[in-house]
């Protein structure tokens, strides 16, 4: 499967549909993450997003597990991006950059 912005949005939409999430937080407002994505692109104009695209291209379930593993590995290696004070993994920032 080739990852497109539409596929990625679908993946997040699926996440947001989980019952626990719906009860506590309502729908995931992906447009609200665009600021992070833009900030990451500005700070890293030459960032290679291909590995993340590739990780997500293996199918929705497999791809998300791979992304989760990347996030944890990022923090273990202090590969982080700070946005409005939030200390976020580089993978989280790149995900939003893919959407931005």
């Amino acid at each position: 499967m080739i990852l497109t912005k539409r596929n990625l949005l679908a993946a997040f939409a699926a996440l947001a549909a989980s019952p626990a999430f719906a009860q506590t937080n309502g729908a995931l407002d992906l447009t609200a993450t665009e600021g992070l994505g833009r900030a990451y692109r500005t700070a890293n104009p030459n960032a290679d997003l291909a590995p993340l695209r590739a990780a997500l291209a293996g199918g929705l379930d497999h791809g998300l597990e791979a992304v989760r593993a990347r996030v944890r590995a990022d923090f273990r290696a202090s590969r982080v991006f700070t946005y409005r004070g939030w200390r976020l993994s580089e993978t989280e920032a790149q995900l939003c950059a893919l959407l931005a």
Binding site: L28, D29, T31, R68, R72, R76, W86, L88
Partner: protein, 506 residues
């Protein structure tokens, strides 16, 4: 007659007792309680009366600045008056009652930091902590906490670099329960025939014998002009972390053999912002929906915890002690934050909800020779005592340890799929945004080697035989813990030592 107003004594009265306690704050009151009925006479010399008097409080006035690399200086003149209480009961009159022992790591020598390590260990202090807890009528650290964890309030398991450090409140606090605190300070005095409290009795000079090794007498002054003297077999200086230094310096520099008297002043400050100029807060977000009531919304009745760095964590990160204190956020969540944290929570733990908490951080200030109390000889108070200048200096290393600790906590939460941290404060804005606590530590530091401190492991001034210091000015490192419990634990230990020295039978 247990309480005596020194202003009413005949001019040049001589106050005599076996044990003279200079200052009527919590440390010396704790010692005096141990000596009630001990068969030796005790005199407490207290500058103030039984309640706040602004003329007396103004004796604290001086000048101060706070400095940190890359930050504009901050004037703290007012801090010298507002962070202390000069009447019987001392700063216990305004204390909130939070009780915390220092961590094991605080006593340890930490080679990656320099100038650390106490001449006593946490294990050696444990019996005195237990007695301090009993005196303050609270559960024992950490025994009661470890044996009776509350399963409904689980700790957040992050990794071996962080742990849940407990805190307890005592009701014996002037700020919380005035009547009970007053009874705690006063009732034993009325019952003891061997203890007298001299109010309005300011010690302005410590006179040594010619041998330079023994205190001969104290000069005592009253604001109404009366002058007296006091003599004892042993003396304990317990006038607070700044005034202890002031009196020793004003007495010719007693204890300054190592040029450390007044140096290495350390304080506790909290770092955090709430709706800063960009509308940002310091926050900690927990991804897995865990009940965090152990950390937030506990109230005064329950033990509560902060997230603290272990000794192993400090070694790993090359940092000093550090804590994150959580509270329930009151500000409505920003939509962007909500979205970012929802995404983070989804990536951490499928199906879980993000829970946002306000928080502030504390990072141990390390001993620093430039952080210093000196005298202003040209500026004296109405008693003729030189006023103090407090140059409270944070080092580059202090700022590094704060930022590295926050980063390490954020990384540990993320790596463990537990949550995220927000720290929106630039390094150059740290001084402007911090809040200073009323803890004045380190300026008469304790050391085994006279070259490295002012007092020895028994809190006796190096080279002197009968002058001791009580209070947190003897702390060689500051930790994060509110110091009162340790002050009282050290007072218990000092009291035992003094009883042996003065021949009090067990």
């Amino acid at each position: 007659m247990a309480f005596i107003d020194a202003r009413t004594l005949p001019e040049a009265s001589e106050i005599e007792a076996d044990l003279i306690l200079i200052g009527g704050g919590l440390a010396n009151i704790a010692i005096a309680k141990q000596w009630a009925g001990a068969g030796k006479s005790v005199a407490i010399l207290e500058s103030g009366g039984r309640e706040l008097d602004m003329e007396i409080q103004a004796l604290y006035a001086g000048a101060g600045i706070m400095r940190a690399p890359g930050n504009p200086e901050r004037n703290i003149d007012e801090y010298l008056i507002q962070s202390r209480a000069r009447w019987y009961g001392g700063s216990g009159n305004v204390w909130g009652g939070k009780c915390v022992p220092l961590d094991e790591s605080d006593f340890a020598r930490r080679d990656w930091l320099g100038r650390t390590g106490w001449p006593v260990t946490r294990a050696q202090m444990q019996p005195y902590y237990d007695r301090a807890c009993e005196l303050l009528q609270i559960p024992l650290f950490n025994r009661d906490w470890d044996r009776h964890p509350d399963p409904a309030r689980p700790p957040l398991a992050i990794n071996d670099s962080f742990f849940a450090a407990p805190r307890v409140f005592t009701a014996l606090s002037g700020e919380v329960d005035r009547a009970r605190f007053d009874a705690w300070c006063n009732d034993f005095i009325a019952a003891a025939t061997n203890i007298r409290v001299y109010l309005h009795a300011n010690v302005t000079n410590i006179r040594l014998r010619r041998n330079g090794r023994d205190v001969e007498s104290l000069d005592v002054a009253c604001l109404n002009g009366r002058r007296h003297s006091a003599r004892g077999r042993a003396y304990v200086l317990g006038t607070g972390g700044i005034e202890n230094v002031r009196l020793l310096l004003a007495s010719g520099g007693i204890g300054n053999h190592s040029d450390l008297l007044g140096r290495c002043f350390m304080g506790h400050v909290t770092f955090g912002v709430y709706e800063n100029a960009d509308g940002l807060n310091t926050m900690l977000c927990v991804s897995d929906g865990q009940n965090m009531s152990l950390y937030a919304d506990s109230g005064r009745a329950n033990t509560h915890c902060v997230i603290a760095t272990t000794l192993e964590g400090q070694r790993r990160f090359g940092t000093a002690n550090f804590t994150a204190t959580l509270f329930n956020a009151s500000a409505p969540a920003n939509p962007e934050d909500t979205a970012l944290l929802a995404l983070a929570a989804k990536l951490d733990t499928a199906g879980a909800a993000a829970r946002q908490h306000g928080c502030f951080f504390m990072s141990e200030q390390l001993p620093n020779l430039d952080s210093r109390i000196t005298l202003l000889p040209e500026h004296t108070d109405p008693l003729g005592m030189p006023r103090v200048f407090l140059d409270w200096v944070y080092s580059e290393r202090d700022l590094d340890t704060l930022e590295r600790s926050i980063a390490a906590l954020g990384d540990a939460l993320g790596a463990g799929a537990k949550g995220r941290v927000r720290w929106p404060v630039a390094r150059e804005a740290l001084l402007a945004t911090l809040n200073a606590s009323r803890h004045h530590m380190g300026a008469t530091r304790m050391s085994q080697d006279p070259e490295h401190g002012v007092v020895d492991e028994n809190c006796r001034i190096h080279g002197l035989r009968n002058l001791y210091v009580a209070g947190c000015s003897v702390f060689p490192t500051s930790g994060i813990a509110n110091p009162t419990l340790t002050i009282i634990a050290l007072a218990m230990r000092l009291s035992d030592h003094l009883k042996r020295q003065l021949g009090v039978r067990a």
